[in-house]
């Protein structure tokens, strides 16, 4: 470090420690700090409750939407559906199916 730099650092310490920087504490009081902190705490609580409410509304809406999707819409079942093979779900017999059945003994 050069002499100039050392001098500058010493000057800085002196200027920064000058009594002009000592401020009267009139603007900041202990009571004012407590008041401000109370206001802050209330604001935080309100914000947290607001966020909780928003989440509850979102979750509620999502659940309501999902519930309405779970109930299948009533669709008319065709009464005159042709059934082949005796059971309602049986598939129509095709030549390939018949050949497969004969090969496996079914």
């Amino acid at each position: 470090m050069t002499d100039d730099e050392e001098r500058l650092e010493a000057d800085l310490r002196r200027v920064l420690g000058h009594p002009r920087h000592a401020l009267p504490a009139r603007g900041v009081t202990v009571e004012g700090i407590h008041l401000g902190a109370r206001r802050r705490r209330r604001a935080r609580l309100t914000a947290a409750l607001g966020a909780l409410l928003a989440v509850a509304v979102l979750v509620g809406s999502a659940l309501a939407l999902a519930g309405s999707r779970d109930v299948p819409p009533r669709s008319p079942v065709p009464e005159d559906r042709p059934s082949v093979g005796g059971s309602p779900g049986a598939l129509p017999q095709t030549p390939a199916r018949a050949a497969y059945g004969a090969g496996t003994g079914l």
């Binding site: 800085l12 920064l16 900041v28 202990v30």
Partner: protein, 174 residues
């Protein structure tokens, strides 16, 4: 706030308020901003008081809040020229009295970019190590050293010029 928190916090505030205001004024160069920053910092500290007392040095905690709030405000205000602002409020360097060289240095300090000025204040006013400054500013020690070197260069150039412009070279070099 329970009685014990209130009691210990109030005692701390009464004891360190002057020092915190002085720190904030050195940092900002503005009395009103300094008071607002200290008020804000102490309110936030009170809300976290039991944790602050348990884990850290309360004064260091408030100082960190003051620094981060100040730098954030500076980033938001962006183009504000602190010297012109100060001059408009009549907050010039005349209170240094006969020390014209000190006044020039103070003016030069106010012209520094906020982060460089913060590094200088933490190092030469608060007497923190580079590691501690780096912790507060959440940057590397190398970055702190670079900022200090740049700031010192700027200060020497600016304050030297200001003094040389008004008086003589002998005043600066002594």
């Amino acid at each position: 706030v329970d009685a014990q928190t209130r009691e210990t916090f109030d005692a701390f505030t009464r004891r360190r308020l002057g020092a915190l205001l002085q720190f904030a004024h050195v940092l900002t160069g503005d009395r009103h901003e300094a008071a607002a920053l200290v008020q804000d910092g102490l309110e936030r500290t009170l809300l976290a008081w039991p944790r602050v007392v348990r884990n850290a040095d309360p004064e260091a905690y408030v100082r960190r809040l003051i620094v981060t709030r100040h730098l954030r405000a500076q980033r938001r205000s962006g183009s504000v020229n602190p010297v012109l602002e100060g001059a408009q409020r009549g907050d010039d360097a005349s209170e240094f009295g006969a020390g014209r060289h000190d006044a020039a240095l103070w003016s030069a300090l106010r012209l520094l970019p906020p982060r460089q000025r913060t590094v200088i204040v933490l190092r030469y006013y608060a007497h923190l190590s580079d590691r501690e400054v780096a912790d507060i500013l959440r940057c590397s020690v190398g970055s702190v050293r670079t900022q200090v070197a740049t700031a010192l260069h700027g200060l020497g150039r600016r304050s030297g010029r200001a003094v040389l412009g008004r008086e003589s070279a002998a005043t600066w070099t002594r």
